[in-house]
Symmetry: C2
Subunit: 198 residues, 2 copies
């Protein structure tokens, strides 16, 4: 059972859950969106679902300059009210994400933001490697898919494991705070500059 990116995206939009979680749920539900959403709800993962559809237009601009001033990050983290933006929980989340970005240098915020040229290039490399295994075509497809997911987990901010606690992803970290603060929280945009890099 393989699911396509659009189906995963639809479930993500609806549930506010991470890519891998949605994918697993869809596989488990044989591609049935309703059933997959039910699975996520039962797991308690979709609890932030209602909030994810609400507008997040308040928030903060946060920065992190690494000691030595050769590396810096600027981040816009959004929530729904100025009240939440001023809580310590929200501020901690902002500086945690900034520091995480400094450490891992993600290529985008969401999987959907990765440019198709990057995806094509990665797929080409993985397909080439997988074909050398001599395995049948359907297995190769799965191998490539697996490698691509790994690529996302390593390079896409929301899919990455949080550097300060690798047992959770950045999506998990945000979902936790959404539960605590009761507002939708969205990473809107970030910049990461390193001296001599651009």
């Amino acid at each position: 059972m393989s699911v396509n990116a659009q189906e995963v995206k639809n479930l993500r939009d609806r549930s506010g859950c991470g890519m891998m979680e949605c994918k697993q749920a869809l596989v488990e539900a044989n591609g049935d969106q309703e059933k997959a959403f039910e699975i996520l709800r039962k797991k308690g993962a979709a609890k932030a679902q209602k909030k994810a559809s609400r507008d997040a237009k308040e928030g903060s601009i946060v920065s992190y300059i690494h000691p030595g001033s050769k590396l810096g990050v600027l981040l816009e983290l959004n929530c729904e009210t100025d009240f939440v933006a001023n809580t310590d929980d929200f501020k901690d989340l902002g500086s945690d994400i900034c520091m995480h970005i400094a450490a891992t240098s993600p290529i985008s915020i969401r999987v959907e933001d990765v440019s198709s040229s990057v995806i094509e290039k990665e797929k080409e490399i993985y397909t080439d490697q997988a074909q050398k295994s001599g395995k049948p075509e359907n297995i190769i497809e799965k191998m490539v898919e697996g490698r691509l997911n790994k690529f996302y987990q390593e390079n896409v901010l929301l899919e990455q494991n949080f550097v300060k606690d690798p047992s959770k992803t950045i999506t998990d970290l945000i979902t936790e705070k959404v539960s605590v603060l009761g507002e939708n929280i969205v990473i809107n945009i970030f910049s990461r500059f390193q001296v001599g890099e651009k």
Copy 2:
């Protein structure tokens, strides 16, 4: 006597001087590059000329978060050695430019970086306005050119008047520091985020 953008750019690259200064020098020199460069040298403005061609690959990442955390700037300011990057003069320049960017929200660093679609749109508006004056075509051309220069002075970082001392442009401010520190200094890249803007 009108000079084209490429001639101005050539003189800028060579002299390290501001756009308006180069333009005036070219007009004064009837478009002769050598003569215009001589004029700038005589004015002492081209003293940073030699330095501007040297590599600036060291430097610092600097940030400024405006009180209230709704607005922030991240900047890469380059120089030639780590020694200069660690001087107070260089650090002051970095934070001055950051704060300036926060206040004025420039659309680009250099005139050459302004997208041609923006220039075309501005020209169209100015031409439209100028034509209503009923003046002859060559006067209208000059009016449009004048307005476009004003647009650059208001919106392009290196042409803007420094907010803390409007008697000098950002280019002037940098040129002063180049003289003091004896190294080429270049604004490489900046980001400016404001909550709810993007």
